[in-house]
Amino acid sequence: MPLFECIELSKAFGGLQAVDNLTFHVDQHEIVSIIGPNGAGKTTVFNLISGFYRPDYGQITLDGDDITGLPSHLITQKGIARTFQNVRLFFNMSIMENVLVGQHSRTKGGVFSVILRTPGYKREQEKARATALKQLSFFGTRLAGYRQNQPANVLSYANRRRLEIARAMATEPKLLLLDEPAAGMNPKETLEMADNIRRLRDERGFTILAIEHDMKVVGGISDRVIAMDYGKKIAEGSYKEVTDDPKVIEAYLGTQGGSFTSK
């Protein structure tokens, strides 16, 4: 049984069929990439999975549990975390706090134990802090250290993306959804990000579903690639198979996002 599965997922916005009868799965320990031209419906798939929208039709399962239509926080508690295409950090909170928020559903302290600082609460917080620090340290000294008590808005763009991933990791997910993790990065940072994504799987054991435009990254990380266009899955397979698929080439050439080969 696959770790994660979407079956006949569909979502329309008014007359626009953003996701159309989409079926795919992700196996434990796998890195799967979703590609497709702008507006293909990739982000919408993530929004459906993470509970922002309720699908019109179809089913989403994690570990065999049906999670279709659950509210976002329960989906996170079940073990799916995500990042956002347009980085959405808590900019006025410190870097450490951003990651600690990720630990929210893995801790329990209530109002009274917080006010009284009970030993149980203190222990729990120390653990949460240690976990948070571990996630920040995943990116070396870029987020951890003297910087971690500064507000997130002082971070550079690339570090904001890294922090978003660290924050998602802190929710201790089984499946990590990354929406264009390398977007807006320079070539060196992009390579590093590809490396990081592999390490997320190899060292931390996450299963990863990533949306990515940069074909070097897609080729470098993916065990399997899914190509979408107009909400439909148009191809699936290894990187080579998908990029050689005439339907995929046509989808890219037919749009302005024809950066497919140039990148």
Partner: protein, 572 residues
């Protein structure tokens, strides 16, 4: 050049002054001998604000010449304009025209405050040309002063401004201020300075002391020094009620009570980001819960409790529970409402509560209110004096502030702040938005309700009018003016909203206009409030600079190719 904007802002300043004065700008009258001085200062500040605004719109600094021409233009236009208007009104009054049928405040005395004449002289039409000329010139020189100060502010670059603010001299000055005001207050109250009738001026000093403590505490970052000065301030605060007279203590306890309410609202609005306009309802619920269960005249005490009301301490407990429950009950229907809609719906809740208090006459006493609410007692000792209530209020404030600090720096506080910044993202972090909101409502409401109990015994008699929309707006403004999300800010806001009106008692109309102006000025100059939470204190420019600074360190420690990191953000 600054001539055109100078003329423009001169006309605007004149408009503001004219408007304030026909509302009865009462500064000269209220402050007696200090009137002209105060007016001059006010003038200087007006010019200062105009110049700073000019600079902000112009996006550049002014040279000395420009600042001085600008400042002189502004103050001269406004000063001579006012002199002209006053002279005109004086003429009309002397000619027997009933000016005050149109401008109610424009009486002979009003003209007299500018010209230094008596009522009779104005009515007799004694010429005041020289007096008015002197007035205009005096205000022009005050404007010159404002221009010089503004030059000092705008000329030095932000860095130098920061250097100056951060200099050791300023540091120790800020720390010394609370002691100065405290000793001054003490000397004044004990008659050492020889003055009589020191109620108002003493209150001014007490308020300044509180403000100075807040500013100093924020300034001292070093842990050991914080502890030392913290203890010193606490001791001074403990002795504070012993210094003041009854009037001062009454105002101070109001400040403390409103600080508690403000801290509660700050949880809902400042941390959790929900604009609750009916928040006063929880304050009312606490006050009425205690009033109705304790007052010997209350329907409940007579019919169900055999004439024996509950004690103050029981009242606190009841209010905390009832308040929290109300917070939840009012919270459930608005869980899915956001932003503007939330504000409108909660505004309705506040009005409903007010109308219920007003119209359920049989239970609540209707417009007649609840009377004879008993004072707190401890081991038979009556704690109803202004002084005792101030102590109780300070203890309550300390406890509530302590709980709030702990909550804020915990998973609960983090979930509030995360939710405030981005509800959807907070949800994907595993935060249950409904519980998080309800916890904020419940705690905020409970704080307001216990403050209400103290307020009820302070007032002895409470009426629905104590909990009307106006109070709701006052509490909202005190939280916003002080700085959303910071406890010191709330207390400072409470000083402004509960203390200032008492100081400017004779100037009620003017107060509202002045606060309006203050709000507008603040939105331009300090949108984050007077004492915002620390992490917001530095504006964007500074955090950009900080970012660049650490990127340089970063570049040095990483290999040199990595410098492209700066490229991603270095776009200024």
């Amino acid at each position: 050049m600054s001539i055109k904007p100078g003329i423009r802002y001169g006309i605007i300043s004149f408009g503001i002054l004219f408007y304030l004065s026909i509302l009865g700008l009462p500064l000269p009258r209220t402050l007696g001998g200090f009137g002209t001085l105060a007016l001059g200062l006010f003038w200087a500040v007006l010019v200062l604000i105009s110049l700073v605004t000019m600079r902000e719109t112009d996006q550049r600094r002014y040279t000395t010449i420009e600042a001085v021409t600008g400042g002189l233009l502004i103050s001269a236009i406004a000063g001579f304009g006012m002199a002209l208007v006053v002279g005109l009104f004086g003429r009309l009054i002397a000619d027997g025209v009933q000016v005050n049928t149109v401008f109610a405040q424009v009486l002979p005395e009003w003209v007299g405050t500018f010209t230094g004449q008596t009522k009779q002289e104005v009515q007799a039409g004694v010429s005041a040309t020289t007096a008015l000329l002197r007035f205009a010139l005096l205000m022009t020189s005050a404007g010159f002063l404002g221009a010089i100060v503004s030059r000092g502010l705008t000329h030095s670059s932000r860095e130098r401004w920061h250097d100056w603010i951060n200099s050791p001299f300023m540091y120790w000055l800020v720390i010394a201020m609370p002691f100065v005001f405290y000793v001054w207050y003490f000397a004044l109250a004990r008659g050492i300075l020889g003055a009589t009738n020191t109620s108002i001026s003493g209150l001014v000093l007490a308020c300044l002391f509180v403000t100075a403590v807040l500013v100093a505490l924020r300034r001292v970052r070093d842990k050991r020094r914080r502890l030392v000065f913290g203890i010193a301030f606490v001791v001074m605060l403990i002795l504070l009620p012993q210094i003041g007279d009854q009037f001062q203590n009454t105002v101070l306890n109001k400040i403390a009570i409103f600080s508690v309410v403000g801290i509660g609202l700050n949880i809902v609005l400042g941390y959790a980001g929900m604009l609750h306009l009916g928040y006063i309802a929880f304050f009312a619920v606490g006050a009425y819960a205690y009033g109705l269960l304790a007052s010997p005249d209350s329907y409940f005490v007579i019919n169900f409790m055999g004439g024996d009301g509950i004690t103050f301490w029981q009242g606190l407990l009841v209010a905390a529970i009832v308040g929290a429950l109300m917070g939840i009950i009012f919270g459930v229907p608005i869980l899915r409402t956001r932003g503007d809609y939330l504000a409108i719906v909660t505004l309705g809740f506040g009005q409903i509560t007010f109308l219920l208090l007003l119209n359920l006459r049989e239970f609540t006493g209707g417009p007649g209110g609840v009377l004879d609410i008993p004072p707190p007692t401890l081991f038979g000792v009556d704690l109803g004096s202004a002084e005792s209530i101030l102590y109780l209020a300070m203890i309550m404030l300390a406890v509530v502030a302590f709980m709030t600090l702990r909550l804020n720096d915990s998973r609960i506080g983090r979930s509030w702040r995360a939710m405030k910044e981005d509800e959807d993202v907070a949800a994907t972090m595993g935060i249950n938005l409904s519980t998080t909101k309800l916890v904020a409502f419940a705690i905020g409401a409970a704080f307001a309700a216990v403050a209400g109990v103290l307020y009820a015994t302070r007032q002895v008699n409470i009426f629905p009018d104590n909990f009307a929309l106006k109070q709701s707006i006052d509490i909202l403004s005190l939280v916003i003016i002080g700085g959303l999300g910071s406890i010191e800010g709330v207390v400072l806001g409470a000083v402004a909203f509960a203390g200032l009106p008492e100081i400017l008692r004779e100037a009620e109309n003017y107060r509202i206009v002045a606060f309006g102006a203050l709000l507008v000025a603040m939105m331009i100059l300090r949108p984050q409030g007077l004492l915002p939470p620390l992490e917001h204190e530095e504006d964007i420019d500074v955090s950009d600079r900080r970012q660049d600074a650490w990127l340089q360190i970063f570049d040095a420690e990483e290999d040199d190719q990595d410098s492209a990191e700066t490229g991603a953000t270095g776009t200024d």
